[in-house]
Symmetry: C2
Subunit: 333 residues, 2 copies
DNA sequence: CTGTTAGCGCGTTCAT
DNA sequence: ATGAACGCGCTAACAG
């Protein structure tokens, strides 16, 4: 009734009175003809023993597993990345692929690639910064069928998902410019936000230059006191920007709150745009104009692209749209 | 220079002029005595070829992989779960373990266990609801060394992390009671929040009963209009609760906003508590009293516990503290 | 047609 | 320091 240990195909074969080869044929539904009676006996034996084929043995034989490897980012994660992971895992599951989160400590470039190669994953999805050319080459040589890069600039040596976390800032800025605003300001939080904040600030400056708009930089943190000096300055109309890009929705809501406390009205005195489409932004008044990525769409497009790469096809065309940030115009700008 | 295909230990052996056995000894640092000269030749050969041992072959031989399998929840995830995943992955990485997110579609109980068993993971961390006794038994039989359950009630047949996502509601309610509030109200959002909201509501009712406090139930959604009737009713002091548990911080901030619009002051007229410790809660005035889990601590304790189970030890004692929700008292209650 | 034999894939480990 | 066998599933070739 109960096997002493993990049952193997040998156990199933013995119990069904057939050879291991027959067990394999039945369980994998190959085209090899097997009599219905035998089929049923094998199936019954497998069920009785709670047989589960050994994925390692299968992967060893096949030369590859059905694992999608995702080396985790070394430092703090990007906004929405956690949600992305959960979505990606679910999407891949529907395609018979498992998502392996590989939190590597040491690794970068080739160093990391060697570690990732050990798992002989079917596919690897990694950031452009670590997917250097030699790293990609090593993965390919190790038999990884699909190497998909994430981020810009995209290397020419591997397909990539050209997603740019600072693109939301560009779209937000364009919106502000289209509304006629020319005196802009940009919140640039430090600390855990510093890296992304710098990039978004640069994106704002770049977009503003096209219209010869100037951008005031406001370094800050997630505390009202950090933006108090700026807000105080802005009480004087002569020193006041037309609009502020607030880095993200949390900072935007904080800013709106601080402005109101200072007697300034949003959007009449100052327009404000955030990023991330946080639920609260749609609720508190003035409701928040924001830019964001459609994370579920993105996860779907990435999963689909990985599947297609494994099938020898090209990226999912839907990817192009999925990496575009969306603008949601509400009351604040 | 470049191998045609993924190099194996045979390739390394050939290049170094030794046997595969020697390669294995050198690369794994066994106690087997190897001359330094040979050691260096093997190491050099491995490096030159970019050799990465095949994890499948190793796992096959060893009978187990170094994978920690985490079957993903089918439906919408719990708050903070995404963050938990990212943390857990990083923690496990530091212990030489890989986190495999298995998004199973079909599976529950034994059905799922068979799928999970295929990977011969070193450990499985899964929700109590799916970690039924037969499922756990099957995993054990498949050679899984550590099966850790998550959630309450904890089965006696496997170690578990007794975390209860509704515990934050209990702690919040106790705080309100300790402040002398006896007429309570509880927001119960439907839709994607319904499942957890019901449990938190029950937790509030239970905690309130101890002090013979009554709890008004306010069904709602994440829109001001959904709580408008309740807020309107509360303008009459005779119908007004002393305090509200708002399900989470988003709902709490929305409620505070709606109350202010209605001319009610928080906390003077009504106290409000949320859950989740969202950054904005500490910023907007009145600042928000909240209850939450220390997710990073939890991830650390879980990872550490898994490691210990694999080493044949008991759970990390720190787990007990990590599953306790924390109360952060601010201005709103 | 139906089922079996044999050997591969790759790293580890015991006995020589 | 090495030959040989092992762990487990898959599949090409082969025998009734």
């Amino acid at each position: 009734m109960s096997a002493v240990s993990r049952p193997t195909s040998t156990d199933v074969a013995r119990r069904a009175g057939v050879s291991r080869a027959t067990v394999s044929h039945v369980l994998n539904g190959t085209d090899h003809p097997i009599s219905e009676a035998t089929r049923q006996r094998v199936l019954a034996a497998a069920r009785d023993l709670h047989y589960a084929p050994n994925a390692s043995a299968r992967a060893l034989r096949a030369g590859r597993s059905n694992i999608v490897l995702l080396p985790m980012p070394r430092s703090g994660s990007l906004p929405g990345q956690d949600v992305f992971l959960a979505h990606l895992g679910r999407e891949l599951a529907g395609m018979g692929l498992d998502l392996l989160l590989h939190g590597d400590h040491t690794a970068s470039g080739v160093e990391g690639a060697r570690m990732w190669a050990e798992l002989r994953p079917a596919a690897v999805f990694l950031d452009t910064s670590r997917g250097t050319q030699p790293a990609v080459a090593l993965l390919r040589q190790a038999g990884v069928q699909a190497v998909l890069l994430s981020g810009v600039p995209a290397g020419p040596y591997a397909p990539s998902v050209p997603i740019d976390p600072s693109a939301v800032a560009r779209v937000a800025t364009r919106h502000l410019l289209s509304q006629g605003h020319r005196r802009l300001s940009c919140l640039v939080p430090g600390g855990e936000w510093a890296a992304l904040a710098e990039r978004r600030f640069e994106a704002v400056v770049e977009a503003a230059q096209i219209e010869n708009a100037l951008v005031e930089r406001v370094d800050c943190s997630l505390a009202v006191s950090s933006i108090a000096p700026a807000v105080a300055r802005w009480r004087n109309p002569a020193h006041r920007p037309d609009a502020v890009y607030a880095y993200n929705d949390e900072f935007a809501l904080m800013l709106i709150y601080a402005l109101r406390e200072a007697g300034l009205d949003v959007p009449r005195d100052i327009a404000v745009v955030g990023s991330g489409n946080q639920p609260l932004g749609a609720i508190l008044r003035p409701t928040l104009t924001t830019t964001h990525f459609l994370v579920p769409d993105l996860a779907h497009a990435v999963a689909s692209s990985l599947r297609r790469l494994l099938d020898g096809r090209e990226l999912d065309p839907a990817l192009a749209a999925a990496v575009q940030p969306r603008l949601i115009v509400r009351e604040s700008a």
